[in-house]
Protein backbone atom coordinates (compact mmCIF):
# COMPACT_ATOMS: atom_id res chain seq x y z
CA UNK A 1 0.00 0.00 0.00
CA UNK A 2 1.31 3.42 -0.89
CA UNK A 3 2.09 5.95 1.79
CA UNK A 4 -0.63 8.40 2.64
CA UNK A 5 -0.64 11.81 4.22
CA UNK A 6 -3.87 12.51 6.04
CA UNK A 7 -5.54 15.77 6.86
CA UNK A 8 -8.31 15.82 9.42
CA UNK A 9 -10.89 17.96 7.61
CA UNK A 10 -12.89 19.60 10.33
CA UNK A 11 -16.44 20.73 9.63
CA UNK A 12 -18.56 22.72 11.98
CA UNK A 13 -22.25 23.42 11.44
CA UNK A 14 -21.92 21.97 7.94
CA UNK A 15 -19.07 24.28 6.92
CA UNK A 16 -15.48 23.27 6.33
CA UNK A 17 -13.05 25.02 8.69
CA UNK A 18 -10.65 27.04 6.47
CA UNK A 19 -7.60 25.52 8.21
CA UNK A 20 -8.51 22.18 6.61
CA UNK A 21 -7.82 23.59 3.14
CA UNK A 22 -4.61 25.18 4.41
CA UNK A 23 -3.40 21.80 5.70
CA UNK A 24 -4.34 20.25 2.38
CA UNK A 25 -2.00 22.73 0.66
CA UNK A 26 0.85 21.71 2.96
CA UNK A 27 -0.05 18.03 2.60
CA UNK A 28 0.29 18.29 -1.18
CA UNK A 29 3.70 19.88 -0.81
CA UNK A 30 4.82 17.11 1.57
CA UNK A 31 3.54 14.37 -0.70
CA UNK A 32 5.56 15.70 -3.63
CA UNK A 33 8.67 15.01 -1.56
CA UNK A 34 7.55 11.87 0.24
CA UNK A 35 5.52 10.28 -2.54
CA UNK A 36 2.12 8.77 -1.93
CA UNK A 37 -1.27 10.39 -1.78
CA UNK A 38 -2.91 13.17 0.16
CA UNK A 39 -6.15 12.13 1.77
CA UNK A 40 -8.67 13.93 3.95
CA UNK A 41 -10.87 12.40 6.64
CA UNK A 42 -14.22 14.05 6.94
CA UNK A 43 -16.83 13.29 9.59
CA UNK A 44 -20.38 14.54 10.00
CA UNK A 45 -24.03 14.00 9.19
CA UNK A 46 -24.25 14.94 5.51
CA UNK A 47 -20.90 15.97 4.21
CA UNK A 48 -20.79 14.97 0.53
CA UNK A 49 -20.70 18.59 -0.58
CA UNK A 50 -17.77 19.26 1.66
CA UNK A 51 -16.04 16.18 0.29
CA UNK A 52 -16.48 17.63 -3.21
CA UNK A 53 -14.96 20.90 -2.01
CA UNK A 54 -11.89 19.03 -0.78
CA UNK A 55 -11.54 17.25 -4.13
CA UNK A 56 -11.76 20.62 -5.88
CA UNK A 57 -8.75 21.69 -3.88
CA UNK A 58 -6.64 18.81 -5.11
CA UNK A 59 -7.34 16.19 -2.46
CA UNK A 60 -6.71 12.75 -3.95
CA UNK A 61 -8.88 10.75 -1.58
CA UNK A 62 -11.60 11.82 0.78
CA UNK A 63 -12.54 9.28 3.43
CA UNK A 64 -16.03 10.03 4.61
CA UNK A 65 -17.61 8.91 7.88
CA UNK A 66 -21.25 9.91 7.57
CA UNK A 67 -23.84 9.38 10.26
CA UNK A 68 -26.47 11.65 11.83
CA UNK A 69 -24.89 10.89 15.20
CA UNK A 70 -21.71 12.66 14.06
CA UNK A 71 -23.46 15.89 13.11
CA UNK A 72 -22.02 17.74 16.12
CA UNK A 73 -18.48 17.15 17.36
CA UNK A 74 -18.61 14.39 19.98
CA UNK A 75 -15.25 13.79 21.61
CA UNK A 76 -15.86 10.08 22.36
CA UNK A 77 -16.98 8.71 19.00
CA UNK A 78 -14.85 11.14 16.97
CA UNK A 79 -11.72 10.05 18.85
CA UNK A 80 -12.46 6.33 18.76
CA UNK A 81 -13.42 6.30 15.10
CA UNK A 82 -10.41 8.33 14.00
CA UNK A 83 -7.99 6.21 16.00
CA UNK A 84 -9.55 3.13 14.42
CA UNK A 85 -9.31 4.48 10.88
CA UNK A 86 -5.67 5.46 11.42
CA UNK A 87 -4.81 2.03 12.84
CA UNK A 88 -6.40 0.38 9.84
CA UNK A 89 -4.98 2.53 7.03
CA UNK A 90 -1.65 3.41 8.66
CA UNK A 91 -1.04 6.83 7.14
CA UNK A 92 2.54 8.05 7.42
CA UNK A 93 1.57 11.55 8.55
CA UNK A 94 -1.61 13.07 10.02
CA UNK A 95 -2.12 16.86 10.11
CA UNK A 96 -4.67 18.55 12.37
CA UNK A 97 -5.94 22.11 12.55
CA UNK A 98 -5.12 23.54 15.97
CA UNK A 99 -8.68 24.73 16.51
CA UNK A 100 -10.48 24.55 19.83
CA UNK A 101 -11.69 21.10 18.80
CA UNK A 102 -8.80 19.83 16.65
CA UNK A 103 -6.20 20.37 19.37
CA UNK A 104 -7.88 18.14 21.95
CA UNK A 105 -8.91 15.49 19.45
CA UNK A 106 -5.37 15.18 18.07
CA UNK A 107 -3.94 14.88 21.59
CA UNK A 108 -6.38 12.16 22.59
CA UNK A 109 -5.82 10.19 19.38
CA UNK A 110 -2.04 10.49 19.80
CA UNK A 111 -2.29 9.00 23.30
CA UNK A 112 -4.54 6.20 22.09
CA UNK A 113 -2.07 5.38 19.28
CA UNK A 114 0.95 5.99 21.54
CA UNK A 115 2.51 8.28 19.00
CA UNK A 116 3.99 11.78 19.21
CA UNK A 117 2.20 15.03 18.48
CA UNK A 118 3.84 18.39 17.87
CA UNK A 119 1.69 21.38 18.68
CA UNK A 120 1.33 24.68 16.82
CA UNK A 121 3.88 24.09 14.07
CA UNK A 122 4.94 27.10 12.02
CA UNK A 123 6.58 25.06 9.27
CA UNK A 124 6.58 21.45 8.11
CA UNK A 125 8.81 19.75 5.57
CA UNK A 126 10.35 16.38 4.72
CA UNK A 127 14.04 15.85 5.31
CA UNK A 128 16.39 12.92 5.63
CA UNK A 129 17.03 12.26 9.31
CA UNK A 130 19.51 9.44 9.85
CA UNK A 131 18.96 8.24 6.30
CA UNK A 132 15.19 8.12 6.58
CA UNK A 133 12.74 10.69 5.18
CA UNK A 134 10.96 12.19 8.16
CA UNK A 135 8.56 15.00 8.87
CA UNK A 136 10.46 17.96 10.30
CA UNK A 137 8.17 20.03 12.51
CA UNK A 138 9.25 23.57 13.28
CA UNK A 139 8.00 25.39 16.39
CA UNK A 140 9.01 28.75 17.89
CA UNK A 141 11.72 28.55 20.54
CA UNK A 142 12.99 30.83 23.24
CA UNK A 143 14.97 34.01 22.75
CA UNK A 144 14.41 36.10 19.64
CA UNK A 145 13.99 34.25 16.40
CA UNK A 146 15.13 30.89 17.66
CA UNK A 147 13.15 27.94 16.39
CA UNK A 148 13.18 24.21 17.14
CA UNK A 149 13.10 21.31 14.71
CA UNK A 150 11.16 18.38 16.14
CA UNK A 151 10.85 14.89 14.70
CA UNK A 152 8.79 11.95 15.84
CA UNK A 153 10.13 8.40 15.91
CA UNK A 154 6.77 6.63 15.89
CA UNK A 155 4.07 6.54 13.21
CA UNK A 156 1.96 8.22 12.27
CA UNK A 157 3.92 11.44 12.63
CA UNK A 158 1.36 13.97 13.77
CA UNK A 159 1.29 17.75 14.00
CA UNK A 160 -1.20 20.52 14.69
CA UNK A 161 -1.12 23.85 12.86
CA UNK A 162 -2.97 27.04 13.76
CA UNK A 163 -5.38 28.62 11.27
CA UNK A 164 -3.76 31.16 8.95
CA UNK A 165 -0.23 29.75 9.15
CA UNK A 166 -0.19 27.74 5.90
CA UNK A 167 -1.44 28.83 2.48
CA UNK A 168 -4.74 27.38 1.27
CA UNK A 169 -4.56 24.68 -1.43
CA UNK A 170 -5.48 26.28 -4.77
CA UNK A 171 -8.58 25.23 -6.68
CA UNK A 172 -8.04 22.69 -9.42
CA UNK A 173 -10.01 20.14 -11.41
CA UNK A 174 -11.41 17.53 -9.04
CA UNK A 175 -9.81 14.16 -9.77
CA UNK A 176 -9.82 12.28 -6.54
CA UNK A 177 -12.25 9.75 -5.14
CA UNK A 178 -14.65 9.66 -2.23
CA UNK A 179 -14.43 6.56 -0.04
CA UNK A 180 -17.02 5.79 2.64
CA UNK A 181 -15.88 4.59 6.08
CA UNK A 182 -17.84 2.39 8.44
CA UNK A 183 -19.27 4.17 11.49
CA UNK A 184 -19.39 1.89 14.50
CA UNK A 185 -20.33 3.49 17.79
CA UNK A 186 -19.10 1.77 20.94
CA UNK A 187 -20.74 1.64 24.35
CA UNK A 188 -19.45 4.45 26.53
CA UNK A 189 -18.73 6.72 23.59
CA UNK A 190 -21.28 9.24 24.77
CA UNK A 191 -20.19 9.65 28.38
CA UNK A 192 -19.57 13.21 27.23
CA UNK A 193 -22.41 14.22 24.95
CA UNK A 194 -22.47 17.50 23.05
CA UNK A 195 -26.00 18.86 23.36
CA UNK A 196 -25.70 21.96 21.22
CA UNK A 197 -23.34 24.43 19.62
CA UNK A 198 -24.24 28.04 20.25
CA UNK A 199 -22.69 30.49 17.81
CA UNK A 200 -22.14 33.97 19.16
CA UNK A 201 -21.74 37.11 17.12
CA UNK A 202 -18.27 38.56 17.51
CA UNK A 203 -18.19 41.98 19.14
CA UNK A 204 -15.36 43.18 16.99
CA UNK A 205 -14.47 42.61 13.36
CA UNK A 206 -12.24 39.55 13.19
CA UNK A 207 -8.59 40.54 13.35
CA UNK A 208 -7.79 38.23 10.45
CA UNK A 209 -9.86 40.35 8.06
CA UNK A 210 -8.26 43.72 8.85
CA UNK A 211 -5.96 45.28 6.24
CA UNK A 212 -4.03 47.10 8.95
CA UNK A 213 -3.30 45.71 12.41
CA UNK A 214 -1.79 47.80 15.21
CA UNK A 215 -0.45 45.70 18.08
CA UNK A 216 0.86 46.81 21.45
CA UNK A 217 3.15 45.06 23.90
CA UNK A 218 4.36 45.42 27.45
CA UNK A 219 6.17 48.64 26.46
CA UNK A 220 2.82 50.46 26.58
CA UNK A 221 2.98 50.13 30.34
CA UNK A 222 5.32 53.13 30.44
CA UNK A 223 2.51 55.21 28.92
CA UNK A 224 0.15 54.09 31.62
CA UNK A 225 -2.50 52.95 29.14
CA UNK A 226 -3.19 51.22 25.86
CA UNK A 227 -5.32 54.08 24.59
CA UNK A 228 -2.95 55.41 21.92
CA UNK A 229 -2.74 51.98 20.28
CA UNK A 230 -6.48 52.17 19.73
CA UNK A 231 -6.21 55.72 18.48
CA UNK A 232 -3.55 54.87 15.91
CA UNK A 233 -5.66 51.94 14.73
CA UNK A 234 -8.66 54.22 14.40
CA UNK A 235 -6.74 56.80 12.37
CA UNK A 236 -5.64 54.04 10.00
CA UNK A 237 -8.96 52.24 9.94
CA UNK A 238 -7.22 49.18 11.33
CA UNK A 239 -7.80 46.66 14.10
CA UNK A 240 -6.12 46.40 17.51
CA UNK A 241 -4.08 43.42 18.66
CA UNK A 242 -1.51 42.73 21.34
CA UNK A 243 1.10 40.50 22.92
CA UNK A 244 0.53 38.13 25.80
CA UNK A 245 1.59 40.64 28.46
CA UNK A 246 -1.03 43.00 26.96
CA UNK A 247 -3.61 40.24 27.40
CA UNK A 248 -2.46 39.52 30.95
CA UNK A 249 -2.81 43.23 31.70
CA UNK A 250 -6.38 43.15 30.43
CA UNK A 251 -5.63 45.68 27.66
CA UNK A 252 -6.85 43.32 24.95
CA UNK A 253 -9.22 40.36 24.85
CA UNK A 254 -8.23 36.79 24.07
CA UNK A 255 -9.53 37.15 20.50
CA UNK A 256 -7.00 39.95 19.88
CA UNK A 257 -3.92 38.04 21.07
CA UNK A 258 -1.42 37.67 18.26
CA UNK A 259 1.04 34.80 18.04
CA UNK A 260 1.50 31.13 18.70
CA UNK A 261 -1.23 31.00 21.34
CA UNK A 262 -3.45 33.48 19.54
CA UNK A 263 -4.21 34.63 16.03
CA UNK A 264 -2.13 34.53 12.88
CA UNK A 265 -2.77 37.54 10.66
CA UNK A 266 -1.46 38.63 7.27
CA UNK A 267 -2.50 42.27 6.80
CA UNK A 268 -1.03 44.77 4.34
CA UNK A 269 0.50 46.65 7.25
CA UNK A 270 1.37 45.39 10.72
CA UNK A 271 2.52 47.90 13.34
CA UNK A 272 4.21 46.56 16.47
CA UNK A 273 4.52 49.00 19.38
CA UNK A 274 6.65 48.29 22.45
CA UNK A 275 7.03 44.56 21.85
CA UNK A 276 10.43 42.89 22.03
CA UNK A 277 9.72 40.43 19.23
CA UNK A 278 9.62 37.01 20.87
CA UNK A 279 9.29 34.21 18.31
CA UNK A 280 5.94 33.18 19.82
CA UNK A 281 4.62 36.66 19.00
CA UNK A 282 6.22 37.33 15.59
CA UNK A 283 5.04 33.99 14.19
CA UNK A 284 1.56 35.55 14.29
CA UNK A 285 2.25 38.16 11.60
CA UNK A 286 5.15 36.82 9.55
CA UNK A 287 3.11 37.03 6.39
CA UNK A 288 2.18 40.70 6.72
CA UNK A 289 3.15 42.67 3.59
CA UNK A 290 4.87 45.46 5.51
CA UNK A 291 5.96 45.44 9.15
CA UNK A 292 6.69 48.61 11.13
CA UNK A 293 8.10 48.37 14.66
CA UNK A 294 8.59 51.00 17.34
CA UNK A 295 10.78 49.85 20.22
CA UNK A 296 13.34 51.53 22.44
CA UNK A 297 15.89 48.73 22.70
CA UNK A 298 18.00 48.64 19.51
CA UNK A 299 19.00 45.05 20.31
CA UNK A 300 15.41 43.80 20.44
CA UNK A 301 14.77 40.93 17.99
CA UNK A 302 11.70 42.71 16.62
CA UNK A 303 14.07 44.70 14.38
CA UNK A 304 15.23 41.47 12.74
CA UNK A 305 11.84 40.94 11.19
CA UNK A 306 10.61 44.51 10.59
CA UNK A 307 10.74 46.33 7.27
CA UNK A 308 10.91 49.65 9.05
CA UNK A 309 12.06 50.00 12.64
CA UNK A 310 12.04 53.11 14.77
CA UNK A 311 14.38 52.96 17.75
CA UNK A 312 12.87 55.27 20.29
CA UNK A 313 10.51 55.98 23.14
CA UNK A 314 6.82 55.42 22.49
CA UNK A 315 5.99 58.33 24.77
CA UNK A 316 7.30 60.80 22.22
CA UNK A 317 6.91 58.81 19.02
CA UNK A 318 3.38 57.49 19.25
CA UNK A 319 1.58 60.87 19.55
CA UNK A 320 3.66 62.25 16.68
CA UNK A 321 2.99 59.22 14.52
CA UNK A 322 -0.75 59.55 15.10
CA UNK A 323 -0.61 63.25 14.25
CA UNK A 324 1.43 62.72 11.10
CA UNK A 325 -0.74 59.89 9.81
CA UNK A 326 -3.91 61.85 10.49
CA UNK A 327 -2.53 64.56 8.22
CA UNK A 328 -1.35 62.18 5.59
CA UNK A 329 -4.65 60.46 4.92
Amino acid sequence: MSKEIWVWAEQRQGRLMPVSLELLGKGQELSRKLGGKVAAVLMGAEVRELAAELLEHGCEKVYVAEDPILSLYQSGPYGNLLAGYIEESKPEIVLWGATSVGGELAAWVAARLRTGLTAHCIDLYIDDIKGKPQLVQVVPGWGGNLALKIVCDTTPQMATVKPGVMAEAPRTKAQGEILPLAVEIKGGDFRAETIEIVEEELEERPLEEAKIVVAGGWGLNSLGSFELVGELAKVLGGAVGGTRPALDKGWITESSLIGQSGKTVSPDLFISLGASGAAQFTTGFEKAKVILAVEQNPQAPIFEIADIGIVGDLKSILPLLIQELKKGL
Binding site: E104, W108, W142, N145, C152, V198, G309, L321, G328
Partner: protein
Protein backbone atom coordinates in the same frame (compact mmCIF):
# COMPACT_ATOMS: atom_id res chain seq x y z
CA UNK B 1 -22.55 13.36 47.51
CA UNK B 2 -18.90 13.14 48.43
CA UNK B 3 -16.57 13.77 45.55
CA UNK B 4 -12.90 13.05 45.17
CA UNK B 5 -11.29 15.73 43.06
CA UNK B 6 -7.72 15.68 41.73
CA UNK B 7 -6.19 18.89 40.36
CA UNK B 8 -3.09 18.68 38.13
CA UNK B 9 -0.70 21.56 38.61
CA UNK B 10 2.55 22.33 36.84
CA UNK B 11 5.32 24.56 38.10
CA UNK B 12 6.42 27.00 35.38
CA UNK B 13 8.84 29.93 35.04
CA UNK B 14 7.11 33.24 35.77
CA UNK B 15 6.13 34.82 32.40
CA UNK B 16 7.19 38.22 33.74
CA UNK B 17 10.74 36.96 33.49
CA UNK B 18 10.43 35.24 30.13
CA UNK B 19 13.01 37.49 28.52
CA UNK B 20 15.60 35.73 30.72
CA UNK B 21 14.57 32.19 29.81
CA UNK B 22 16.93 30.50 27.39
CA UNK B 23 17.17 27.19 25.67
CA UNK B 24 20.11 25.00 26.58
CA UNK B 25 21.81 24.40 23.23
CA UNK B 26 23.05 20.96 24.29
CA UNK B 27 20.15 19.38 26.15
CA UNK B 28 17.55 21.43 24.16
CA UNK B 29 15.58 21.92 27.35
CA UNK B 30 14.59 25.21 28.96
CA UNK B 31 17.13 26.69 31.29
CA UNK B 32 15.34 28.55 34.06
CA UNK B 33 18.21 29.46 36.29
CA UNK B 34 17.47 32.47 38.45
CA UNK B 35 13.90 32.69 37.22
CA UNK B 36 11.16 32.57 39.83
CA UNK B 37 8.77 29.64 39.50
CA UNK B 38 5.01 29.90 39.89
CA UNK B 39 1.99 27.62 39.60
CA UNK B 40 0.85 27.66 35.96
CA UNK B 41 -1.86 30.38 36.05
CA UNK B 42 -4.70 28.26 34.62
CA UNK B 43 -3.93 25.49 37.10
CA UNK B 44 -4.89 27.95 39.83
CA UNK B 45 -8.23 28.35 38.09
CA UNK B 46 -8.54 24.55 38.08
CA UNK B 47 -7.77 24.43 41.81
CA UNK B 48 -10.18 27.29 42.50
CA UNK B 49 -12.95 25.38 40.71
CA UNK B 50 -12.19 22.28 42.77
CA UNK B 51 -12.33 24.30 45.99
CA UNK B 52 -15.65 25.89 44.98
CA UNK B 53 -17.15 22.47 44.32
CA UNK B 54 -15.88 21.39 47.72
CA UNK B 55 -17.56 24.39 49.34
CA UNK B 56 -20.87 23.54 47.67
CA UNK B 57 -20.88 19.79 48.18
CA UNK B 58 -18.70 17.70 50.33
CA UNK B 59 -15.49 16.89 48.54
CA UNK B 60 -11.83 16.19 49.00
CA UNK B 61 -9.38 18.09 46.82
CA UNK B 62 -5.97 16.60 46.07
CA UNK B 63 -3.27 18.30 44.00
CA UNK B 64 -0.66 16.43 42.00
CA UNK B 65 2.41 17.53 40.08
CA UNK B 66 5.14 15.80 38.18
CA UNK B 67 8.37 17.70 38.47
CA UNK B 68 11.77 18.16 40.10
CA UNK B 69 12.11 18.27 43.92
CA UNK B 70 11.61 22.04 43.96
CA UNK B 71 8.09 21.56 42.50
CA UNK B 72 7.20 20.89 46.15
CA UNK B 73 6.89 24.68 46.44
CA UNK B 74 3.97 24.69 44.01
CA UNK B 75 2.25 22.00 46.07
CA UNK B 76 2.79 23.98 49.28
CA UNK B 77 1.15 26.99 47.70
CA UNK B 78 -1.79 24.85 46.54
CA UNK B 79 -2.21 23.46 50.05
CA UNK B 80 -2.19 27.01 51.38
CA UNK B 81 -4.94 27.91 48.90
CA UNK B 82 -7.02 25.14 50.45
CA UNK B 83 -6.18 21.80 48.85
CA UNK B 84 -6.47 18.87 51.27
CA UNK B 85 -3.70 16.60 50.01
CA UNK B 86 -0.65 16.92 47.79
CA UNK B 87 1.31 14.44 45.70
CA UNK B 88 4.68 14.90 44.03
CA UNK B 89 5.75 12.57 41.23
CA UNK B 90 9.48 12.91 41.23
CA UNK B 91 12.14 10.73 39.61
CA UNK B 92 15.07 11.29 37.27
CA UNK B 93 13.29 8.90 34.93
CA UNK B 94 10.48 11.47 34.48
CA UNK B 95 12.80 14.16 33.13
CA UNK B 96 12.60 15.66 29.63
CA UNK B 97 9.20 14.15 28.88
CA UNK B 98 7.02 15.24 25.99
CA UNK B 99 3.29 15.38 26.59
CA UNK B 100 2.84 11.64 26.10
CA UNK B 101 5.62 10.87 28.59
CA UNK B 102 4.08 13.39 31.00
CA UNK B 103 0.58 11.91 30.79
CA UNK B 104 2.08 8.43 31.20
CA UNK B 105 3.30 9.41 34.66
CA UNK B 106 0.36 11.58 35.73
CA UNK B 107 -2.36 9.02 34.89
CA UNK B 108 -0.96 6.28 37.18
CA UNK B 109 -0.19 9.00 39.74
CA UNK B 110 -3.87 9.96 39.83
CA UNK B 111 -4.86 6.31 40.17
CA UNK B 112 -2.36 5.88 42.97
CA UNK B 113 -4.13 8.60 45.00
CA UNK B 114 -7.16 6.34 45.04
CA UNK B 115 -10.74 6.67 43.94
CA UNK B 116 -11.43 9.83 41.92
CA UNK B 117 -14.56 11.40 40.45
CA UNK B 118 -13.23 14.52 38.79
CA UNK B 119 -9.80 15.44 37.42
CA UNK B 120 -9.22 19.14 36.80
CA UNK B 121 -6.41 20.62 34.69
CA UNK B 122 -5.48 23.94 33.20
CA UNK B 123 -6.28 24.17 29.52
CA UNK B 124 -2.64 24.88 28.73
CA UNK B 125 0.59 26.00 30.35
CA UNK B 126 2.42 29.30 29.81
CA UNK B 127 5.82 27.69 29.22
CA UNK B 128 5.10 25.33 26.36
CA UNK B 129 1.37 25.54 26.05
CA UNK B 130 0.55 22.48 23.98
CA UNK B 131 -2.73 21.84 25.80
CA UNK B 132 -2.21 18.15 25.10
CA UNK B 133 -1.60 16.74 28.58
CA UNK B 134 -5.23 16.88 29.79
CA UNK B 135 -6.80 14.90 26.91
CA UNK B 136 -3.90 12.43 27.05
CA UNK B 137 -4.35 11.77 30.78
CA UNK B 138 -8.07 11.21 30.09
CA UNK B 139 -7.23 8.69 27.39
CA UNK B 140 -4.94 6.72 29.72
CA UNK B 141 -7.56 6.80 32.49
CA UNK B 142 -10.31 5.89 30.02
CA UNK B 143 -12.60 8.70 31.15
CA UNK B 144 -14.48 11.33 29.11
CA UNK B 145 -12.91 14.77 28.88
CA UNK B 146 -13.50 18.34 27.80
CA UNK B 147 -11.09 21.20 27.20
CA UNK B 148 -11.61 25.00 27.13
CA UNK B 149 -14.14 24.66 29.94
CA UNK B 150 -15.63 27.98 31.03
CA UNK B 151 -18.55 26.90 33.19
CA UNK B 152 -19.39 23.79 35.20
CA UNK B 153 -22.86 23.11 36.60
CA UNK B 154 -24.18 20.00 38.34
CA UNK B 155 -27.19 18.51 36.60
CA UNK B 156 -27.96 15.28 38.35
CA UNK B 157 -25.86 13.81 41.06
CA UNK B 158 -23.10 12.44 38.86
CA UNK B 159 -23.74 14.42 35.72
CA UNK B 160 -22.37 17.82 34.81
CA UNK B 161 -23.49 20.33 32.21
CA UNK B 162 -20.38 22.04 30.91
CA UNK B 163 -19.91 25.09 28.72
CA UNK B 164 -16.89 24.68 26.53
CA UNK B 165 -15.48 27.54 24.48
CA UNK B 166 -15.23 27.59 20.69
CA UNK B 167 -13.68 30.14 18.32
CA UNK B 168 -17.08 31.75 17.97
CA UNK B 169 -19.46 30.84 20.75
CA UNK B 170 -19.57 27.71 22.84
CA UNK B 171 -20.65 24.08 23.08
CA UNK B 172 -22.93 22.70 25.79
CA UNK B 173 -21.95 19.21 26.84
CA UNK B 174 -23.43 16.72 29.30
CA UNK B 175 -20.69 14.73 31.03
CA UNK B 176 -20.92 11.73 33.30
CA UNK B 177 -18.43 11.40 36.14
CA UNK B 178 -15.68 10.34 36.43
CA UNK B 179 -14.36 12.85 33.91
CA UNK B 180 -11.46 15.19 33.19
CA UNK B 181 -12.05 18.87 32.57
CA UNK B 182 -9.38 21.34 31.41
CA UNK B 183 -10.38 24.87 32.34
CA UNK B 184 -10.01 28.34 30.81
CA UNK B 185 -9.41 31.68 32.48
CA UNK B 186 -13.07 32.74 32.25
CA UNK B 187 -14.22 30.02 34.63
CA UNK B 188 -13.40 31.88 37.86
CA UNK B 189 -10.99 34.16 39.64
CA UNK B 190 -8.56 32.18 41.79
CA UNK B 191 -8.46 33.11 45.48
CA UNK B 192 -5.33 34.44 47.13
CA UNK B 193 -3.57 32.51 49.85
CA UNK B 194 -4.23 33.77 53.33
CA UNK B 195 -2.02 33.67 56.42
CA UNK B 196 -4.50 31.21 57.88
CA UNK B 197 -4.15 29.03 54.80
CA UNK B 198 -0.38 29.01 55.09
CA UNK B 199 -0.56 27.95 58.73
CA UNK B 200 -3.09 25.22 57.93
CA UNK B 201 -0.88 24.00 55.07
CA UNK B 202 2.05 23.47 57.40
CA UNK B 203 0.05 20.64 58.99
CA UNK B 204 -0.51 18.88 55.70
CA UNK B 205 1.89 16.32 54.34
CA UNK B 206 3.21 16.11 50.79
CA UNK B 207 3.52 12.52 49.59
CA UNK B 208 6.17 11.78 47.00
CA UNK B 209 6.22 8.82 44.60
CA UNK B 210 9.01 7.73 42.32
CA UNK B 211 8.75 5.62 39.21
CA UNK B 212 9.00 2.29 41.02
CA UNK B 213 6.42 3.26 43.65
CA UNK B 214 4.03 4.20 40.86
CA UNK B 215 4.61 0.84 39.23
CA UNK B 216 5.48 2.54 35.96
CA UNK B 217 7.94 1.16 33.43
CA UNK B 218 10.76 3.75 33.15
CA UNK B 219 10.67 3.20 29.38
CA UNK B 220 7.14 4.65 29.22
CA UNK B 221 7.97 7.97 30.87
CA UNK B 222 10.49 10.79 30.65
CA UNK B 223 12.73 11.01 27.66
CA UNK B 224 12.49 7.27 26.87
CA UNK B 225 8.70 7.42 26.79
CA UNK B 226 8.65 10.46 24.52
CA UNK B 227 8.26 9.86 20.78
CA UNK B 228 8.95 13.51 19.88
CA UNK B 229 12.54 14.66 19.85
CA UNK B 230 14.16 18.06 19.32
CA UNK B 231 16.84 17.52 16.66
CA UNK B 232 18.10 21.06 16.25
CA UNK B 233 17.65 24.67 17.21
CA UNK B 234 18.27 27.37 14.63
CA UNK B 235 17.88 31.09 13.96
CA UNK B 236 15.15 31.91 11.49
CA UNK B 237 16.36 34.51 9.04
CA UNK B 238 13.88 37.00 7.72
CA UNK B 239 13.95 38.38 4.18
CA UNK B 240 12.62 41.76 5.26
CA UNK B 241 14.12 45.15 4.43
CA UNK B 242 15.17 45.69 8.05
CA UNK B 243 15.66 49.42 7.74
CA UNK B 244 16.24 50.91 11.17
CA UNK B 245 15.51 54.60 11.66
CA UNK B 246 17.24 56.56 14.41
CA UNK B 247 17.18 60.31 14.99
CA UNK B 248 14.83 62.79 16.58
CA UNK B 249 11.24 61.61 17.01
CA UNK B 250 10.07 64.21 14.47
CA UNK B 251 12.55 63.08 11.83
CA UNK B 252 11.93 59.41 12.50
CA UNK B 253 8.17 59.78 12.18
CA UNK B 254 8.49 61.81 8.99
CA UNK B 255 10.80 59.31 7.37
CA UNK B 256 8.60 56.43 8.46
CA UNK B 257 5.47 57.95 6.94
CA UNK B 258 7.33 58.53 3.68
CA UNK B 259 8.42 54.91 3.60
CA UNK B 260 4.95 53.63 4.39
CA UNK B 261 3.56 55.63 1.47
CA UNK B 262 6.36 54.41 -0.78
CA UNK B 263 5.53 50.79 0.09
CA UNK B 264 1.84 51.46 -0.53
CA UNK B 265 1.13 50.27 3.01
CA UNK B 266 -1.36 53.02 3.83
CA UNK B 267 -3.78 52.40 0.98
CA UNK B 268 -6.96 50.80 2.22
Amino acid sequence: MALNIVVCIKQVPDPEHFSKVSLDPVTKTISREGIPAIINPLDKNALEEGLRIKEKFSAKVAVITMGPPQARRALEEALAMGADEAFLLCDKAFAAADTLGTACALAPGIQKIGHFDLVLCGNETVDSGTGQVGPQIAQFLNIPYLTKVKEIAFDEERTLIVKRGLEQGYMRVRVKLPALLAVNKEINKPRLTTAFGIIAAAEKEIKAFDCRELGVDPNDVGISGSPTRVVETFQRVSQRRREVIYGSPEEAVKKTTERLKEFGALVQ
